[in-house]
Symmetry: C2
């Protein structure tokens, strides 16, 4: 089957990121986060569970939550990506050891979830919400990553055995299964892409099609055994093609939509209306300015349109990462830059905030206002967020470029050198930029042909105006689906200037929590105030509508701070990037700040 | 008496403007506008009136309007300024000839106004609105300019004779006079500054003090002999210290406030409250986005607060120039950048629009919306506007810098080299910038001392955010009265980046004419649409709130145009700088354009 998407991603192993902002974060990931996550998985018995499971069913011996296997897989995925950036024989050997333990824990028929193997083998496949396929999906993603990093099939074989095993139990004319936590669907598509086995793709499609259509045949008692949540929480209240509004658990929703978009790249699913509609609903009525989603702690998810409280905002780090995953599929599917706008918003704010600058502390929930008690943790019993950070950060290179037969798509602006294939010939693309410290990007193209190339530069949603120069001369682009399209002749230097002032942002009038308030942003970066920078007087800040904003020395990290002054010169506030908050001790913090209206004849 | 202002201007003869934007305009001024204006004064009998007057009173021989002498003076003033920029012996000789004719027309007692000398000698000093002192004021300004350009006292002697003559008739214990069209007041202060004769300053103060206090003693029948206008139009309805709101004829108002500020620099006038209040009223409720003032044709002036129609906007070029004159005095008086914001707004929009790119066509009124009939003229019977352009353009260098014992004030951003005195030592200041094409200004200082200098960089009202670097490193400034204040050590390069995106501007909700509309600006430059760039469909333009704006190749002049596109890529509009409109034939034009609201969760 052919891929239907408008463009394909350029994998991160073709991209050398040389950007000070990101190389610093990626070095912290390599040096601190990967090791920390492996160590925590060891300390908490997550890896030992596999060893125990390999010894046969020992009731009571399982340690932790039933989905803990998934954390190990996600760390392995991140560690494998890390190996694709820097050689690390010691780490590679460590991964091989863990994978061997995982392989040993796989049952003869292919089953693999240490919780059931150790704890309740008789209850396998009876509770739709026990994350059996969720963990399986993460195993597959990790196995693919390890295969790509090492070319070793060790882990991939475990993954295909597992997938094959699933298909012996479930599928057309077999048992019905509705995974309580989506993930397997997107993993199966990845497995199809790596192995070429169409059955995995078909199985992913079949799994999606089961939703909203009741349960299995009489006698199959598999159900969501949950007191609190109903079908809508699990996305089993309607066929997926009929989805129009976000609902339920935010991470599960993102993984579901990702799977739907993935399958739609290859098959006629009829999911497009659902995907476009639910995207509109999420982005226009349910998205925090930080790219966080899911306001509620009680269901870890969505409530009602425009319900975006700040102090109780849940905005799980994983949900932000899921949002990126889904939007990247949508970007490829439709070839529209608006999806990358969402990726960028989540990336530079919600997700980065979930991860300390030191690399070893994590937020599960990313509030937009804190009373001085909220702080990052070393780890969690449910450790999905740290482990998602672990696999997400080394993969960001893949979101930079896309390509098809006509165009090179420039999606993210990150100082880097990339080699890709364009019209069957080698093309080296260089981005020289300090983004997001400023909005200027210089691009050089070294193409193995004398022909022009056509470049689509994303025009970000935060950006109000831009200029493109070729060899210094202003040129008029064609505009198409959120991109500025221009032809570049051999040897021409392209300069893309996205005007990046400090902006004052106001929320829609229906967002009750933000009325009378203003948020300060610059480019994709949302700013916040921490009490320690305001002489402790964070409650008293009122930003006048005519205030002067000045980019200033960094107060934390190396990213510029913002000084906000009255026209007469009074210091109103000092702001730091939201992603850098809570790195100098626990403190009060706000993204949305009270505004003092000054009556002016013209409002810019 | 000491000067009370916060800073003093650096005269334009100390500033070498090397800016492509302005050198081009100044060359057009020198090559075209000066000659054109002299020629028109000759063709229309304005110079011949002096020759006739020198021959004695020949009733009926006067040609034109009673205030036509003033046009000759203003052209002489501009031509003299021009001589301070470029040597031109031929022009200098021409000026001397004209000045000799003027001198010959001065009556023995010092009287000089060819209209009354030739037409109605018996009616001298009977009608307050016959511009006798208005013309006299312009003579003084021209004489001072000629003296500064040539060091020749020829013209200055005529001016002092005239002033001395005025004081023989009017003053304490003499006749009362309320000049119908202000101008003499500011001219007398200039004359005081050049000659050191305090009597001129005192006389200016006395003239101002007569306003709002009735007329002369019984038997003195001098009145405003006007059917239509009352005392409020002439600023004779209340003492000037009680002024709180703009009213009446816009140019007269500006010249009055200028004179009030001028006298207040040297004397305790008690005018400050009036000046600050009327400024607030003008700027916050009566200023067009172009810096134009005075909406009404019928009184060439103000109506009521927020009455700012576009298609019938009067916005006389002279009023814009008067606005600059007044605000420059205010800037010096209070040391506040907000006054220079107004100067810049009027300069780059209202005033420049009044003058064709070719240099020989002029607008009297500068509408913000045109139906395709409004066009520039070669000249006018009342030629105040061309002649004001003639004297204003060569003087813009004086608005760039100010200095006092502590600070160098950087007011306008124009590529230039300047030599000034700072703490009694020579300081060379270099501005390297493409402003207003972009918002980056590099400054180098060559100071004849090892001490630091303190620089106040204006933070423009259109600017929402800025960054200052010293030798490339971001620094945190102190903010004071609209300036960013920093200390610069010897040899340090200062870079001032004013973020200059294309902005969408909305007017106050009380401005009826602009509701539902948006104006597009970039930095100080207001943009407009002309019908010819929209395939003639100017009426159909609706700019979506989420449109993409791109700086593009110039459509007229060499200043970039703006392309406005929908998110999907449709061309919505092509915009040109307002100052460049009506240079490609007569056309329909709009500054305020209909807006189509797109509902978004966050508004930048």
């Amino acid at each position: 089957m052919n891929k239907k998407g408008v463009f394909e991603q350029i994998d991160f192993n073709q991209v050398a990121i040389t950007d000070p902002f990101w190389t610093d974060r990626m070095k912290v990931h390599q040096d601190v986060t990967v090791d920390t996550c492996i160590k925590r998985c060891e300390e908490t018995g997550r890896i030992e569970n596999f060893v125990k499971a390999a010894g046969g069913p020992q009731k009571g011996a399982f340690k932790g939550r039933f989905y803990n296997d998934s954390d190990v897989y996600k760390v392995l995925e991140g560690a494998a990506y890390s190996l694709m950036h820097v050689e690390n024989p010691e780490l590679k050997e460590k991964l091989r050891e863990i994978i061997q333990k995982i392989g040993a824990a796989q049952e003869d028929n292919g089953y693999l979830l240490t919780y059931f193997t150790l704890e309740k083998p008789e209850l396998k496949w009876t509770d739709l919400d026990k994350h059996e396929m969720y963990c399986g999906g993460h195993l597959m993603e990790a196995a693919i990553a390890y295969y790509q990093a090492t070319q070793e099939k060790l882990f991939l074989d475990i993954a295909t055995r597992l997938a094959d095993y699933y298909m012996t139990l479930f599928g057309p004319d077999k048992r019905v299964w509705i995974p309580g936590h989506e993930e397997i669907e997107l993993a199966l598509v990845k497995l199809y892409e790596v192995t070429g086995t169409e059955a995995y793709l078909d199985f992913a499609h079949w799994l999606l099609e089961q939703r909203g259509n009741g349960y299995g045949q009489e006698g199959d008692e598999a159900r969501f055994h949950h007191d609190e949540y109903r079908e809508d929480y699990f996305h089993h209240d309607r066929p997926v093609k009929d989805i129009r509004h976000v609902q339920g658990h935010a991470v599960r929703a993102m993984y579901l939509y990702t799977g739907m978009a993935d399958v739609s790249k290859y098959k006629d699913t009829g999911y497009e209306d659902a995907l476009y509609s639910v995207w509109d609903n999420l982005i226009n009525k349910n998205l925090y300015i930080t790219g966080g989603i899911g306001p509620s702690n009680s269901n870890e998810g969505f409530t009602k349109d425009y319900d975006l409280p700040n102090d109780t905002a849940y905005c799980e780090t994983c949900a932000g990462i899921g949002l990126v995953m889904w939007n990247w599929r949508m970007a490829q599917l439709e070839g529209n830059g608006k999806y990358v706008d969402v990726i960028e918003r989540a990336l530079y704010n919600n997700i980065l905030a979930g991860w300390s600058l030191s690399g070893d502390r994590f937020f599960y929930d990313n509030k937009l206002e804190a009373d001085g008690k909220h702080k990052r943790s070393k780890w969690f019993d449910t450790a999905c967020c740290p482990t998602n950070i672990c696999r997400f950060i080394p993969s960001i290179g893949q979101y930079i470029y896309g390509a098809n037969k006509e165009n090179i798509y420039v999606n993210l602006f990150i100082n880097s050198d990339t080699t890709l294939t364009y019209k069957d010939r080698d093309l080296k693309v260089q981005q020289i930029t300090q983004y997001p410290v400023d909005g200027q990007v210089e691009m050089n193209f070294d193409y193995d042909s004398s022909e022009d190339i056509q470049v689509c530069l994303r025009y970000p949603d935060w950006c109000k105006s831009a200029t493109i120069r070729l060899d210094g001369k202003v040129v008029t682009p064609r505009v198409e689906k959120g991109y500025l399209v221009i032809r570049v002749s051999k040897g021409q230097k392209l300069t893309y200037i996205m005007d990046m002032p400090i902006e004052k942002v106001h929320a829609h009038k229906f967002v009750v929590a933000d009325q009378g308030k203003v948020a300060i942003t610059r480019g994709p970066v949302v700013y916040a105030v921490e009490s320690q920078d305001q002489d402790g007087m964070i409650e008293k800040i009122k930003i006048p509508t005519d205030s002067l904003l000045v980019l200033e020395d960094a107060l934390v990290s190396r990213y510029p701070s913002i000084g906000c002054y009255s026209r007469k010169g009074k210091v109103i506030a000092k702001l730091i990037p939201y992603f850098a908050w809570n790195n100098r001790g626990t403190d009060k913090m706000k993204v949305w700040i009270d505004e003092a209206k000054v009556d002016t004849l013209y409002k810019y």
